[in-house]
Amino acid sequence: MDPKAYLTVAAILFVLGVEGFILRRNMIIILMSVELMLNAVNLTLVAFARMNLDMDAHVVAFFVMALAAAESSVGLAIVIAVFRLKRTANVDDMAIMKG
């Protein structure tokens, strides 16, 4: 299979993730978009590994997955904490640090 197809898919996924990160209002959707970005990156890494027959990228992909897991747990914990305070998951209502 042409590795370029994988790269294209990964690129599209990444852009979609960025869109969700910037333009969505709900905190959880934003976190999901971050996951999407990370997965896109993983796909890119694996595609390049296949292209260059290099094992290092596979290892990096594993690192990224572990990192994504940790980061999403922490992120969800923060969202829960803020929700308990503000009773809303709308990111626009969380301008506590204004000024």
Binding site: V91, A95, I96, M97, G99
Partner: protein, 673 residues
């Protein structure tokens, strides 16, 4: 002869100062201060120094010159033309005499202070300062380099300030200390400029040089002077020697000598209270009397005379400078004596007397008779210290009354004080065979028969003669008003008048006996003093004929006796006469009383404008508006920057996300390109 023992002379006293200073600091807030310990340390240090000074005197008399090279203070300049300023001490004949005076009279005054300052809260501090003063004075007279001399010069000024404003809780006394220090500083400017001139032309500041082959001013100046064929500074091209490089490039050496000598003399005017910088000395009487005796009579104020004698090799090269020195001395002698005629504070009379006698010393060194000037310094130390300490005894006995109009008849109450004061007064008036006669008469003789100054010398003799008459008059005015006649003090004060304790009276007697006997070292007995000191300073002494000397001696004594009788007439026999004369010549009296309006002149012409400039301009504008303005502007600037940065802190997460993305894109773009 290189010996470390002479280093002990100043450093023992410094140690005493440090000890007493520590005691003073440690017990600053206590009720009980360990006065006994302080006295032992404070008095023993100068006494030990005196013993070592005697030892060095004996050694120097035997022909040696004692030196002590301590260390290389600093070396300035690049490798090729480096100049080493050494911290070295050198005792020759002149220095050994000064050492004896400073440590000897100093020790006596330290002992006197035991009784005078008894019970004072700052007892330890007093002894610390007094020892510190002695250290600096010893540095001054023993220093071989002009830099070490200047260290001592400045240090004695500092000690003088500390001691004059010893009772600084009184604002007036603190101001007197400030005045002394500031006026001294003006003189120091001249001294510094003179040092710079000498350094610039000769490349060294050692006076005689302690180590072998080290450059010295003495050598350089005498060598250069020997090349000058014609000393007439008004004829151009007469001096073939021109300074080759430096600031004074193109100058003739003769003119450099004159300039340096005059500048150094300006320093001496400040330190030794000559016109125009004498105004601090009468106000310096605000300090405790032992201070007045030690610093403003026997030692510090004589530093100027010492300096001129020490740099005699320089002054001898410049007739103009010598004339200036002698004229200023004569003028000061006359004017100060005239001001002393009308003072009513016992210490102020003595202060003006000191200024006047210093004028005499400068007449002597001005005509080239350096050893004569130093001899007068020597005798003056004795009788002036005795007079001041006697005045202190009177003040002590009268419970701090200093106005002689409120005294009188004290000779019954305080016989020891009276007799010592009288002996010293006879000495200062210049009556044969007391010490003052020998020294003062010698000065007048030298001035009259000076070869260097010719007719000017005779004029100066005239001025000095009048001043000597006035000296006799005001001294005996003081004696008669204070000790004779009816006691004008109030009844209740009279009951408490008492003679001073043994520690004070013994010192008075020692000094009085000194002022009677030390004349024996003078001219009329073979002049051992003069011959001894001349080996160091090589003065240009005239050699007047014996008959002239005898005539002058007789004239001086008769003149002084006449004025003493005049004083007796005015103040003993007809007590109302002085007031009548004052009213009749009231303008002249006012002039003298207001000290020729010199203080008023300085105040109006110099002090007030400086105050106005400081308050009106420097404070209100420079300090408040400019300096504070800059600091405040800095603060305002920081706040403005903060205000700008605040715009970015919206608190909205989405804005932050946008910035994050923007930054990431820029970063990636930079990585790629």
């Amino acid at each position: 002869m290189e010996t470390g023992i002479i280093a002990l002379i100043p450093f023992l006293v410094l140690l005493g100062a440090v000890f007493n200073g520590t005691i003073a600091l440690l017990h600053a807030h206590d009720e009980e201060t360990p006065d006994c310990k302080v006295t032992w340390i404070g008095c023993f240090a100068p006494i030990l120094s005196f013993i070592f000074s005697c030892w060095s005197f004996c050694k120097v008399k035997g022909g040696a010159i004692l030196t002590c090279y301590l260390y290389n203070w600093f070396t300035a300049g690049d490798a090729g033309s480096a100049v080493a300023i050494d911290f070295a001490l050198r005792v020759d004949e002149l220095t050994s005499v000064m050492l004896l005076v400073v440590t000897g009279v100093g020790s006596l005054i330290h002992i006197y202070s035991m009784g005078y300052m008894h019970g004072d809260k700052g007892y330890a501090r007093f002894y610390a300062y007094l020892n510190l003063f002695m250290f600096f004075m010893l540095m001054l007279v023993m220093g071989d380099s002009m830099v070490v001399l200047f260290l001592g010069w400045e240090g004695v000024g500092l000690a003088s300030y500390l001691l004059i404003s010893f009772w600084w809780e009184d604002g007036y006394k603190a101001d007197c200390g400030k005045k002394a220090f500031i006026v001294n500083r003006i003189g120091d400017l001249g001294f510094l400029l003179g040092m710079f001139a000498l350094f610039s032309v000769f490349g060294t500041l050692n006076i005689h040089g302690v180590k072998k082959d080290s450059p010295s001013l003495h050598e350089s100046v005498t060598a250069q002077a020997a090349k000058i064929e014609n000393r007439d500074v008004f004829r151009p091209n007469a001096d073939p020697e021109i300074v080759p490089h430096g600031v004074f490039k193109g100058w003739r050496y003769a003119n450099v000598f004159t300039l340096a000598a005059l500048l150094l003399f300006l320093g001496a005017c400040g330190k030794s209270a000559q016109i125009p910088l004498f105004v601090w000395l009468p106000d310096a009487m605000a300090g405790p009397t032992p201070v007045s005796a030690l610093i403003h009579a026997a030692t510090m104020v004589t530093a100027g005379v010492y300096m001129v004698a020490r740099m005699g090799f320089l002054y001898s090269q410049s007739t103009a400078a010598m004339a200036v020195v002698a004229c200023v001395g004569a003028l000061t002698a006359l004017i100060a004596a005239s001001m002393g005629l009308v003072q009513n504070d016992i210490k102020k009379v003595l202060a003006y007397s000191t200024v006047s006698q210093l004028g005499f010393m400068f007449i002597a060194v001005g005509v080239g008779a350096y050893s004569t000037g130093i001899f007068h310094l020597f005798t003056h130390a004795f009788f002036k210290a005795c007079l001041f300490l006697g005045a202190g005894s009177v003040i002590h006995g009268m419970h701090h009354e200093q106005d002689i109009r409120k005294m009188g008849g004290l000779k019954e109450f305080m016989p020891h004080t009276y007799w010592t004061f009288l002996l010293s007064s006879i000495a200062i008036a210049g009556i044969f065979p007391f010490a003052g006669f020998f020294s003062k008469d010698h000065i007048m003789l030298m001035a009259f028969s000076s070869n260097t100054l010719g007719h000017l010398g005779k004029f100066l003799w005239g001025v000095a003669f009048i001043a000597a008459g006035m000296t006799a008059f005001y001294m005996f005015r003081l004696v008669f008003l204070t000790f004779h006649g009816q006691c004008r003090a109030e009844r209740k004060v009279q009951h408490h008048i008492h003679e001073s304790p043994f520690s004070m009276v013994s010192v008075l007697w020692l000094l009085a006996i000194g002022s009677v006997l030390v004349g024996l070292f003078g001219r009329h007995h073979g002049d051992p003093f003069g011959a001894y000191v001349d080996q160091a300073v090589h003065g240009h002494e005239a050699h007047p004929s014996g008959s002239l000397a005898l005539l002058m001696a007789v004239a001086s004594v008769l003149w002084a006796l006449a004025w003493i009788l005049a004083a007796k007439h005015f103040y003993l026999d007809n007590p109302e006469k002085p007031k009548e004369v004052a009213e009749e010549y009231d303008q002249a009296y006012q002039l003298l009383n207001e000290k020729f309006y010199v203080d008023t002149l300085y105040d109006g012409g110099i002090v007030q404008p400086i105050w106005a400039a400081a308050k009106g301009f420097l404070f209100k504008i420079v300090d408040v508006k400019v300096i504070d303005g800059v600091i405040n502007a800095l603060g305002v600037f920081v706040r403005l920057v903060g205000e700008i940065l605040r715009i970015f802190h919206t608190g909205a997460v989405r804005t932050y996300v946008a910035f994050l993305l923007f930054g990431a894109i820029v970063f990636m773009w930079l990585m790629v390109s």
